[in-house]
Symmetry: C2
Subunit: 103 residues, 2 copies
């Protein structure tokens, strides 16, 4: 099965923002952004059920933020960083750099 | 009645992104960003029901993006631009500048 990956030119910025506007998905994106290589989904320490994780992977992929491929029985995922930077210049850096809220 | 306005230091970036990740709310924020003066809610041409508009105003206010005050019987709203720029440097510009998707 080949997963759907949208053309980023057809994605409105609000869809990317909505996808990033969730703590689990933003955590995933930060992990991917700091990884030199694509990651297996299982290598990312998210404390949610498998069904919830699957939902988050799909939201990230369908909003154009990540690219997935199968490597045998493993799902490998990476950030579409260069494409995102071209489509939405300057968007991702400040989001990744945002500091945690004061408790 | 005084509306709740959160301290932006206590707002995580994902809450701001979730608030902006909606076409009506992003439209409102763009209108406010391009207005030299605070706007009355009624002056913004949003094609949603009053109940839906009220919901969007609340989401924007509670995520720290807008500030509201009463002026007689009118509600006046403005972007917390300087505070947002201080809390999340560089975040808002690329979002406001993002181009529409290709049809």
């Amino acid at each position: 099965m080949v997963s759907y990956h949208p053309d980023l030119d057809r994605i409105p910025v609000e869809d990317v923002l909505a996808a990033l506007g969730n703590p689990v998905r933003l955590f995933i994106v930060r992990e991917l952004a700091s990884s030199a290589q694509p990651r297996t989904c299982g290598s990312l320490p998210v404390s949610v059920t498998k069904a919830t994780a699957t939902h988050h992977w799909r939201v990230l992929r369908e909003s154009g933020i990540t690219r997935e491929r199968r490597d045998g029985r493993t799902k490998v995922v990476e950030l579409r960083r260069a494409e995102l930077d071209e489509r939405f210049p300057g968007l991702l850096g400040p989001i990744l750099d945002a500091t945690a809220p004061r408790e």
